[in-house]
């Protein structure tokens, strides 16, 4: 059997819970019985900079990094960040795009413009683009920080993994205080 490796790439801004989300995804994949590797960069990236996390899984995974043009599913936690990493997506890959806009310093200071019609630009390259108002889902679920779980919910519908494993890992991942909001956000993401 050919060793098919699936690559997920999560991209966004420091503080959005990207590393947490990719940790949860990895745990879910491992429990489903597959090999999995993930990679991200700590340090400088945390301070409001661009943050990314690669997750790759299959029967046997060597590289934790996907090559440019090798990502099956790009999950953008922030709207313009999708453009920065679009070059990684396979032509027949998929994009999950949060509608949230966070202005980089140059835009904040009025020195650069926030790109317009982002989804349109993405669609010129990748036909399967799912736009999600993750902030709305998180707020409705009762915790604005649950954006990452909402996006995991959307992502889960693209992966062939038993919902039971997702729930089991989510139950363990969050303290009781925020668990309910995260479970709600995940379910709403799945339904979105």
């Amino acid at each position: 059997m050919k060793n098919k490796v699936t690559s997920v790439y999560m991209v966004g801004v420091g503080g959005q819970g990207i590393i947490r989300a990719s940790d949860i995804l990895c745990e879910v994949i491992m429990r489903s019985g597959l090999d999995v590797k993930k990679s991200e960069v700590h340090g400088m990236a945390q301070r409001g900079g661009s943050v990314t996390s690669h997750v790759r899984f299959g029967k046997k995974v060597y590289s934790p990094l996907a090559p440019k043009g090798g990502v099956d599913i790009l999950v953008a936690f922030e709207r313009l960040e999708v453009l920065r990493y679009l070059v990684y997506v396979k032509p027949d890959g998929r994009v999950i795009l949060s509608e949230l806009e966070l202005y980089p310093p140059a835009v904040n200071l009025g020195a650069a413009a926030y790109p317009e019609r982002v989804a349109e630009t993405v669609r010129k390259r990748v036909s399967d683009v799912k736009e999600v108002n993750a902030t709305r889902i998180a707020v409705d679920a009762g915790n604005i920080k649950a954006e990452n779980t909402a996006l995991l919910g959307v992502l889960s519908t693209y992966l062939d993994i038993d919902e039971k494993i997702w729930n089991e890992v989510l139950q363990e991942a969050f303290p009781p205080k925020v668990l309910e909001a995260n479970l709600k956000a995940f379910a709403a993401g799945r339904a979105a």
Partner: protein, 596 residues
């Protein structure tokens, strides 16, 4: 049991399973989590030392006393620890000593990209290089065994992608612990005066020869034979990239990158028609293999700089161009920034406007060099801010009066700032040293150090007093300021720049993210749009919750111009504002008010 672990966590786990009871290190990306994870295990001693030299020397002492000891640092930390390393290679280690060097190809969080495999060759010590977390856990054990067997320090090298990638690891129970510690002396082995060193030097050559023989049979130097057309020699993370790109090719995977198994390499080279070396950074393997007279292709097609990935390896060897993938539209950069409420921001806002040379250092505050703060003009290495300011003040003489400032964080100061400060007092500098004391090693994620009052394992500790220390060194002008009080910082800096002789100014307030130290967090602010006159002074702080909203993008009638030329207003995102008051102090219109 199978768990997901980063390379760093796996190294810590491996050391614990193998009965390693002593570790010392200094935090540095991408090595920091090794010590943090190791410190949690039962029965171990783990410390943050003031710097890497102290850490390695402490580990040498522990090994000589009969312990299995580990010294942990990032690649540039090994520069600081190089002095003991080169001579510990001669003395040998008695029990076991492993030095972990975490390299950072692509400089994700470093000032340079040095390839520390060169240190193994330079210091004549063996080096192992794992390629994932499972190997990291296995290799740390092998490293300790090799150290004990060959009486040598052993280096274990990781790179960012090994250290910070997670993969599946099978946990084992720790082995039976054997206490071999004892007070024992062997002066001819450990007193490196020339007469003894000359003897040890010859033993180092014999040891290297024995290690070469070991390398020939070492099972982690392994041939994976497939195609007879193409063979790839590689190690560490690049092995994964090459395997991913060319599963059909044959591989010689080197678990030990120094010394090399020459016979094994010849054997592999003889089995394939075309031979490549796939390695990041320096042509370390390639040059040695070429020196064996073996024809091999490496840096002729692969880059000398930055990390590789499967695509780069694939394109290089198959001769394709990465230009086949159309470029995406350019987007504004998103560099890391000082956090909202960061106690460094106000200090650098003032410093940037002094018209002085700001000799900087390593830490979060290095980010203040960017526009619009521009509060830093040089960063070389840990502690260099103070020594460089001294040299500059001596070179500039009168021209430098009131124009030379060094800026350094608390952890960096303890690491390498104390000796140069002593030098400033001793040799009579005319510069001001600003210690930005945020009570932690913030850049690497809140690690303790000798001025925080706690140890790595959470015990209360002696707390270094920067004021008393400066005075003891002979610095007469020492002042403490509140980094959230712009007027006070400005006043004190002007005073100290006017003073003759060296001065120390300590800007003291905890990192805003460091909850244990009770950081200053107040009610969030907002901008009163009816008062904001669009002067943009607050934007000069480069605080991410503050943004500019041009009238051109607002609906007619939703705004009111206060001056004829006003083009917009500032807005504060209260969700992220910590109420540090800096912007309020700058606002002459009184438009920045507490959120109700």
């Amino acid at each position: 049991m199978k768990v997901l672990m980063s390379g760093n966590e796996a190294i810590a786990r491996g050391a614990y399973e193998h009965g390693v009871r002593f570790a010392a290190g200094y935090p540095g990306t991408p090595s920091t989590e090794i010590m943090e994870a190791y410190a949690q295990y039962e029965g171990v001693y783990a410390e943050w030392s003031p710097n890497e030299k102290v850490a390695l020397e402490a580990a040498i002492g522990a090994a000589v006393a009969g312990e299995k000891a580990m010294a942990v640092m990032k690649h540039v930390g090994v520069n600081v620890a190089a002095d003991p390393l080169f001579t510990a290679s001669y003395t040998g280690t008695n029990r076991a000593l492993v030095l972990i060097s975490a390299d950072d190809p692509s400089m994700h969080s470093s000032q340079n990209e040095q390839d520390n495999r060169n240190y193994a060759k330079f210091a004549k010590v063996p080096m192992l290089e794992p390629s994932d977390s499972q190997e990291a856990k296995a290799f740390i054990k092998i490293a300790f065994d090799l150290s004990e067997q060959f009486d040598t320090p052993v280096m274990l090298r990781t790179t960012t992608r090994v250290a910070h990638s997670k993969s599946i690891v099978t946990l084992e129970e720790p082995g039976v612990f054997e206490d071999k510690t004892a007070v024992q002396t062997n002066a001819s082995k450990y007193v490196m005066v020339p007469g003894n060193s000359r003897v040890r030097r010859q033993l180092v050559e014999k040891r290297t020869a024995a290690l070469k023989e070991f390398a020939e049979k070492f099972e982690e130097n392994r041939i994976e034979m497939k195609s007879k057309e193409v063979g790839i020699i590689t190690s560490g993370m690049p092995y994964n990239y090459a395997k991913d790109a060319f599963p059909e090719y044959s591989f010689l995977k080197l678990g030990m990158v120094y010394p090399l198994p020459e016979k094994l390499i010849r054997k592999f080279a003889g089995k394939v028609k075309k031979l490549y070396v796939v390695e990041e950074l320096d042509p370390f393997l390639e040059e040695q293999i070429k020196a064996m007279g073996i024809e091999v292709t490496g840096k002729a097609i692969l880059p000398f700089s930055n990390e590789l990935d499967p695509g780069i390896v694939k394109n290089a060897i198959s001769g394709c161009s990465s230009n086949d993938i159309p470029a995406a539209p350019e987007v504004p950069p998103r560099p890391p920034n000082l956090c909202p409420g960061c106690p460094h921001r106000g200090v650098f806002y003032v410093l940037g406007k002094l018209g002085a040379f700001l000799s900087g250092d390593i830490g979060c505050y290095t980010l203040a060099y960017m526009k619009p703060l521009e509060g830093l003009h040089s960063t070389v290495c840990m502690g260099a801010s103070v020594s460089m300011a001294h040299g500059m003040s001596k070179a500039l003489k009168d021209k430098g009066k009131g124009k030379v400032v060094a800026v350094i964080g608390d952890s960096t100061f303890v690491h390498s700032g104390m000796t140069p400060l002593l030098n400033m007092a001793y040799n009579g500098s005319d510069a001001v040293v600003v210690i930005c004391d945020n009570s932690t090693t913030a850049m690497t994620g809140m690690q303790e150090h000798p001025a925080t009052g706690y140890t790595l394992q959470g015990q209360p500790a002696k707390k270094l007093d920067f004021v008393a220390l400066s005075k003891v060194f002979g610095i007469e002008n020492v002042q403490v300021v509140d980094p959230y009080d712009l007027k006070q910082i400005r006043k004190v800096m002007k005073e100290e720049l006017a003073n003759a002789g060296p001065s120390v100014v300590i800007a003291e307030s905890p990192c805003v993210l460091f909850r244990r130290a009770n950081p200053v967090i107040g009610k969030p602010f907002r901008v009163d749009p009816d008062k904001c006159n669009g002067c943009k002074l607050c934007l000069g702080l480069n605080c991410s919750p503050i943004s500019w909203r041009p009238f051109a993008k607002m609906a007619e009638g939703t705004y009111r111009k206060k001056t004829k030329n006003q083009e917009g207003i500032a807005v504060i995102d209260s969700l992220y504002c910590t109420g540090c008051t800096l912007c309020q102090q700058l606002c002459k219109a009184g438009a920045i008010v507490e959120e109700e």
